[in-house]
Symmetry: C2
Subunit: 238 residues, 2 copies
């Protein structure tokens, strides 16, 4: 029987029908097999799934035991197993997360990011595992719409994408987010949830601050990223 | 022994030292008693707590059993029990949440709200319980800095605060958030995480939309609120 997810596994899985259908629609080339529960409704979505799997030679296995084993929730009736993948970053705008540690935040950030049209995500190690089923769930499938890549260090990333504007978000920054100037393609850079970016980033590109008053130490990471995404893209999205 | 929190209880509690100190500093008039664990460090914070409690006639009880019973986490060594309270709203700007259902979101929203200087929160019932220890924890104590009030219906609230501008956030709105016009005091209104605001709000004040593309259904509630807070306050916060 399939074991619960561990970071070193070569495969991961989607918990639930909606996520699994998103996986089939967006990343079918990586799908390995589908598990279904005996209680799954044999409705239109079910037949659509069966069709896709038949046409693509993907095995569909009914196993309540496997589903109960992999899912903590009672109402999960479909699981999609897929091989992990890494997509090429393109040269457009990027979100860069330095050492993110919270799975729920990462999923939400991916969702906001593609919502605002930024389809490239960089994670500087160490960082949370983007393939953890919890991240996949909190991204509501958005993970299958974004290009992402892990780097060992920020300088490795910076060397590869040197011809762009870097905007690290820091409480010590001098420039207010609302006064940013967009010239070409850019990378929005955010630090760890608890510690933020270290002072070395004051020398990277144009550090920006999202001003708030002193009653709170900082904004939640996903809120800060969403605010930045909004401000950087608000004149582009129709 | 004290029982785990239930919504109908007249009291609630703060889990952990930081939250409990925030409770003592901000809402001492409602504090009932303090529980500590035998493993609690007898450091400066401890002596400060003991001082405050002595000066205010608050009982401090060492009980590992109570703490283990109330907290799911191993490293919680201080709990503050307090009587629930309701603070008067003032006539400045408000955040209005219609039927919010997620505890973590509510805590994060409270934190962002006071960070951007909006210190009044309205919840239209049914809505998540602001005194649930999970909300208190996710607000990181910000709940002790905000005025909040529950209303049975939006029209009850609207009658009481009729002389202000209402901005409901809706996907069907015609006006883009970035084109908003601020005249006087305002209320920013958000619907439930899953269902949003119903169409009746199209007739309330000036509905606004945070534009994003179609790859996602909607933004996370706390992200939407943070973006709105940022846009409405960005010219005021120094």
């Amino acid at each position: 029987m399939m074991k619960k997810y561990r970071k070193d596994d070569r495969i991961s899985y989607t918990l639930g029908t909606t996520l699994t259908m998103e996986l089939l629609n967006k990343k079918i080339e990586y799908v390995n097999r589908i598990y279904i529960h005996s209680k799954l409704d044999r409705n239109d979505t079910y037949y659509k799934m069966i069709d896709i799997c038949k046409n693509n030679n993907i095995e569909v296995i009914e196993s309540d035991k496997t589903i109960n084993n992999l899912s903590d929730k009672d109402n999960c009736y479909m699981i999609g197993v897929f091989n992990k993948f890494e997509e090429r970053l393109d040269d457009k705008n990027h979100i860069v997360l330095v050492n993110p540690s919270n799975m729920g935040n990462l999923g939400t950030i991916i969702r906001s990011s593609i919502g605002f049209g930024i389809n490239n995500l960089v994670i500087i190690k160490p960082g949370v595992d983007i393939f953890d089923p919890k991240v996949i769930r909190s991204s509501m499938g958005a993970i299958f719409n974004i290009n992402f890549k892990y780097y060992d260090s920020f300088s490795d990333y910076q060397k590869e994408f040197s011809k762009r504007d870097f905007f690290p978000f820091m409480l010590k920054a001098k420039t207010n987010l609302k006064d940013k100037v967009i010239n070409g393609n850019y990378s929005l850079i955010f630090g760890n949830e608890a510690s933020g970016l270290d002072d070395s980033y004051l020398n990277v590109g144009t550090p920006l601050i999202i001003k708030h008053n002193k009653t709170i130490d900082s904004l939640n990471l996903d809120n800060a990223v969403s605010i930045a995404l909004y401000e950087f893209t608000k004149d582009e999205i129709e």
